[in-house]
Structure formats: structure tokens, C-alpha cells
């Protein structure tokens, strides 16, 4: 099922969280996913492709925020970025920290590209994003041919 993604900036985005957002958006679009952008928690205003009021719909909201502290989830690092992945609920609903459907990851000093990969990996793990193909058909043939020539496989 094709999904629409909303990448949402929450609170006051820092340069770091902007970088993470850009990386996430680039990766999703590179995989052919539709991405809408929003700021300030207004997922319902995110633009075309966002159904409104349906019980279950193919919208995944990736909320990227940067905070000085986040006591409500027990993280008190001096600075970090959190990412919330919110799927299958009406647009505009505020993610509930108590629910399992939300993910919060610390960034601290983690390289943005690495952090992005963890976001993408989590989307894949939850089945919200298909795993990227490793090889095209032609590339796979190329590698199999090489392995056959080397004697590893027949």
C-alpha cells in the first residue's frame, strides 16, 4: 500500500534537526514516497495526500523536534532531537507518549546521517516503509555471475 508521509517539525527546530529532517525527506523521496511537510504540529494542514478523519489511513507522521530537555519521557540530556513516528491515526492527533506507536530517539552528538538511518530503519522495522532493494535485477545477475566465476556458487 502506498503511503503518504508527513515530516513535521516540532517546537523550535535546531540546525541539527533541520539536517536530520532534510536527510529523512531526501531518503523517503529517493525511495519514491510521497512526502508532505508541516511545522508546529499541524499535520492536518500538511497538504494534498493527507486524508482527513478516516479511521485508518496510510499516513505516517515523522515528527522531528529539538529540545533542551524532555522530562515527560524521562530524558534529561542537555540537548537532543526526538523523532516520533505516528501511524494509522487521524491527522492532527497529537502523538501520545504512552502509546507504543510512538518512537523517541535521542540524537545528542550522533552524526545526522547515522541518526537518519536509524529513523529509516525503524520505519522499515515497523513495516511502514518497504526495505530498499539491494540490487536491481541486472545488478543481481552481475553479482551472481561473479560469484559463479569465483566458484562460490553454481
Amino acid at each position: 500500500m502506498s503511503r503518504s508521509f508527513i515530516v513535521l517539525f516540532d517546537d523550535l527546530p535546531s540546525p541539527y534537526s533541520r539536517t536530520v529532517s532534510d536527510c529523512v525527506i531526501d531518503e523517503l523521496r529517493a525511495r519514491g514516497e510521497e512526502v508532505n511537510l508541516a511545522e508546529g504540529g499541524k499535520a492536518a494542514e500538511a497538504g494534498p495526500g493527507v486524508p482527513d478523519g478516516e479511521d485508518v489511513f496510510p499516513v505516517v507522521t515523522v515528527t522531528i523536534g529539538s529540545r533542551a530537555a524532555h522530562d515527560d519521557i524521562g530524558v534529561t540530556a542537555p540537548a537532543f532531537v526526538d523523532v516520533r513516528i505516528h501511524a494509522g491515526a487521524p491527522a492532527g492527533d497529537k502523538p501520545d507518549p504512552e502509546e507504543d506507536q510512538m518512537l523517541i530517539m535521542r540524537a545528542d552528538t550522533e552524526p545526522a546521517e547515522l541518526f537518519t538511518q536509524r529513523v529509516i530503519g525503524e520505519l522499515e522495522r515497523r513495516g511502514l516503509l518497504p526495505e530498499a532493494e539491494i540490487y536491481t535485477a541486472h545488478e543481481e545477475e552481475e553479482v551472481i555471475g561473479r560469484l559463479q566465476a569465483l566458484g562460490y556458487i553454481e
Binding site: I144, Q148, A149, E154
Partner: protein, 461 residues
């Protein structure tokens, strides 16, 4: 990661203790000198001793069964058709560079088999020869690709046209690839910051498979006066010089580990596993046996009358066609063990082309792995203890063949590779009980990394 201990792992795929520690020791003064202050010895590989999964076992400390990787290509499910290439994503457990990343350290990883597509780590990764070409994203970060291309003048993923090219050309390409790997390693070791440096050169493996008959007097087709008789000495002298130059750029506090994933031995020939199963009445074709070597495609098999089939490669994988497990299974579940035992006995009793016992070893996954994930073979067979490769194709004039339809192959893998560890706090000692599974726990201890669950190896320092 403080106080800072660093380690550089120099992987030499297929390097053998016989060559490195004995016959060519005088031609490798750097390695031989390093041995004086090192813990070293032969290293027992995994079952099977194949590049994939062996390097991933070494860097995770887990068995092929726990990784669910039994070779380069594995059954994806219990259907008869679906096979998948093992990739970095198949490895679902942390490897050393993942632990370093989690700890906040940095790694440089170059050419370690099982790293395509490259993982996102702290540091730099150039993935292995499983990358289809250098146009794809084979590095992390992606931008590293340009640097790699610039430093190497065009990165060589592997020796092109390995068996089909003129042997002089192949030899040249092997030397060139090794020189290039070390050049890149030297460059990144000097330019970047790292705690773990791990690179693997496939050159020794390619050399052994293509030219083993020129270095091994016990090889059935040994050529003592052949054109390539001096090739091994020249190659290992060159490799030792590359090693010497690489060591020059390492920081003084750096531990050094030279290691291989398996060894090499003479390959006598190939044993036609599926053709033998056909002769035993255990594998039934939908049509006549072809009159020339032909790959055994699933649609050639009458699955409703087939008990077992096999896979070719450096070792044999045997699969049983079980009711309720395979789509058209014929072996009732309650007969499975009996059928498997009988087949194991028959394989163990195989004779060679001269009617002598082959010395085949047959193993059951559950006997050698604590867990067998994904789709393991029902039996693992080392024909002649790996002196014969497994031939999966059918239509051969006899069960024992000496020509490989993909070109010359002189060597098969052997279970003993090499291990040499030098560094602060490492006592100089030769040991004969080293295991590939010891590598990850030892490196973890030296870098003060956490110990993932399930590892069986020992800390050697």
C-alpha cells in the same frame, strides 16, 4: 572511548599458516618480525569455512547458524525456487564496528566481506566485492566514493574475468588489487580518526584458487617448473612490503591483528552431488538426464518423487523434501531423522575416482550450531574433507570430475587460517588452539566494548 586503545585488523582472505608461518616466512620479513612479539598460530575457521559467512562470524562472534547465513546464496523460504544473496542486511546482529559506533568511537572498514550495502557507522566504510559495481553507493558516507576513486585511480572491487582471462592477466590483476587495497588502507589510516581499522584483501584467495598447483607439491596437477612457479613467492613478498608500509602509518599505541577467515588446500576435483542423488533414486527429474553439464533448475525436478537435492560450491548442502515443510514434500515428518541418517551414512561412505574412501564429513546443523536461523541445509557435506568441491549441475559423464565449467580452480578452502596479534599487553606466544570465534571477544576486550549475548569465543589477552 578513553583511555584510547586502537586496533588495526588486516584481513588476508584464505591466508594459510603453512605459507605465512612456514614456507614463505623468510620472504615475509615484516610479518615474521611481527610474530616475535605476537600471539600467533593457526586459526580454526567456522563450519563452513567460506568467506561469507566467515568474516561476519569473526566480527560478530556468532556461528553461521545464529546469523542464518550458510553461504553466499541461501534459500529464502521453504519453496524450491527462491534463493537470496546474503548481504549486510542479512546480518541482524552487531559487528565490531557497530559496537564501536554505539560506544561513540569511530571505525574504518574496507572490503570486509558481508558489508554491502555499507552500514551507517561512525567513520568510513568501503563495502566488499558483493557490490555490483562502483557506480552504486558502495561507501559510507556516500561522498567517500570520490576519494576512494581518486586514491586508487579506479577502485577494483574484484579480479575481473577471474577464471576466463589469460592467467598472466589474472596474476597481474591480483597483484594490482592487493597493492590498491593497501594503498587505500594506508591513505584512510593516515587521514581519518579511528579506533577500529578493519580491512580485507581478497588477493590471497584469488591467487590460491587460480594458481595453487604451482606452489603445492602435493597438488595432483603440480607444476614445479611451470610459468607461474615463482608467483607465490613474488606475491607474498609484495604483500609483505605493502604490510610494512601500512604499519608505518599506524599510531604507536595501535594493536595489530593479521587474520584470515580460512585456509587453502589442493582441490582434487568435484563430486557431482545431484547426479549421485539421481543414481541413488533420491532425486527424480521430469525429463531425461542431459548429456552435457547443465545447471539443475527447480523445474527440472519431479518434486513429487524427490527425497533430496543438493547445492554446489566449495562444500555440499543437502536439503530434504519433507511433508508439511516443503511444498511437495515426500518424507513424512516422523521418518525425517531416519532418512537423514541413512543419507548421511551413504555420503560418509562415498569413494573417490579410484575406489578409495573419500573421507567425507557430514554434519547436522543442530549438532554444530546452537541455533539454525532462516533455512539451513539438512546436511552439510565436506567431500573428501573439502579436497573435492560439490558440483550441483547434472549431465556429467561420471560422478567425479576434474574440469570446472567456469574455468580452472586449483584450491578448495581448508579449516585452518592464520592469527597474529601484537600490541600492548599481548604476550608473545605460539598457540594451536585459536578459534575464529575468539577474535570478536578479544577485540571487544581490547577496545573496552560491551559483550553481545551468545558469543562463544574466548578473550585471548
Amino acid at each position: 572511548m578513553s583511555p584510547r586503545q586502537r586496533i588495526a585488523i588486516i584481513g588476508l582472505d584464505c591466508a594459510t599458516p603453512d605459507l605465512l608461518f612456514d614456507r614463505l616466512a623468510a620472504d615475509m620479513p615484516t610479518l615474521t618480525a611481527l610474530r616475535q612479539s605476537a600471539l600467533w598460530g593457526p586459526l580454526r575457521s567456522v563450519i563452513p569455512p567460506i568467506t561469507v559467512p566467515a568474516w561476519s562470524c569473526m566480527t560478530s562472534g556468532l556461528t553461521p547458524g545464529e546469523l542464518g547465513v550458510y553461504g553466499f546464496r541461501n534459500r529464502i523460504d521453504r519453496s524450491y525456487q527462491r534463493m537470496g544473496l546474503a548481504s549486510s542486511r542479512t546480518i541482524q546482529v552487531p559487528r565490531l564496528w557497530d559496537l564501536v559506533t554505539a560506544r561513540g568511537g569511530e571505525s574504518v572498514v574496507i572490503g570486509v566481506p558481508g558489508t554491502y550495502p555499507p552500514s551507517i557507522i561512525r567513520g568510513h566504510m568501503v563495502s566488499c566485492f558483493m557490490a555490483p559495481n562502483t557506480e552504486v553507493g558502495f561507501t559510507h558516507p556516500l561522498g567517500l566514493r570520490d576519494e576512494v576513486e581518486q586514491v586508487t585511480g579506479g577502485y577494483i572491487l574484484d579480479v575481473a574475468d577471474f577464471r576466463l582471462a589469460d592467467p598472466n592477466e589474472t596474476a597481474y590483476r591480483i597483484f594490482e588489487m592487493t597493492e590498491q587495497r593497501f594503498r587505500l588502507a594506508r591513505h584512510l589510516a593516515a587521514r581519518t580518526s579511528w579506533d577500529l581499522f578493519a580491512f580485507v584483501d581478497m588477493g590471497p584467495d584469488r591467487l590460491h584458487h587460480r594458481f595453487w598447483r604451482y606452489c603445492e607439491p602435493r597438488h595432483p596437477r603440480y607444476e614445479p617448473d611451470g610459468q607461474f612457479t615463482g608467483l607465490f613467492r613474488a606475491y607474498y613478498r609484495a604483500l609483505d612490503a605493502h604490510l610494512s608500509h601500512f604499519l608505518e602509518v599506524l599510531p604507536g599505541d595501535c594493536a595489530i591483528l593479521v587474520v584470515s577467515d580460512h585456509g587453502a588446500q589442493s582441490m582434487i576435483g568435484g563430486f557431482c552431488l545431484n547426479q549421485w542423488l539421481i543414481e541413488q533414486g533420491l532425486l527424480v527429474l521430469t525429463g531425461p538426464l542431459p548429456d552435457q553439464p547443465t545447471p539443475l533448475a527447480p523445474d527440472r525436478i519431479d518434486w513429487s518423487r524427490t527425497v533430496a537435492w543438493g547445492d554446489g560450491g566449495y562444500y555440499g548442502r543437502v536439503f530434504l523434501n519433507v511433508v508439511g515443510r516443503e511444498p511437495a514434500g515426500v518424507i513424512p515428518a516422523d521418518s525425517y531423522e531416519q532418512v537423514r541418517d541413512e543419507l548421511a551414512d551413504a555420503l560418509t561412505a562415498l569413494v573417490d575416482h579410484e575406489g578409495q574412501p573419500m573421507g567425507t564429513r557430514v554434519m547436522r546443523p543442530e549438532d554444530i550450531y546452537p541455533e539454525a536461523r532462516n533455512v539451513p541445509p539438512d546436511l552439510i557435506a565436506y567431500f573428501g574433507n573439502l579436497r573435492w568441491r560439490s558440483v550441483g549441475s547434472i549431465g556429467h559423464p561420471r560422478l567425479h570430475v576434474f574440469e570446472n565449467d567456469t574455468g580452472a580452480d586449483d584450491a578448495n578452502h581448508a579449516e585452518l587460517g592464520v592469527f597474529l596479534l601484537a600490541g600492548r599487553g599481548v604476550a608473545a606466544e605460539r598457540r594451536n588452539d585459536l578459534s575464529l570465534y575468539d577474535v570478536a571477544p578479544t577485540v571487544q576486550a581490547m577496545l573496552d566494548l560491551p559483550v553481545p549475548p551468545g558469543q562463544r569465543g574466548r578473550v585471548l589477552v
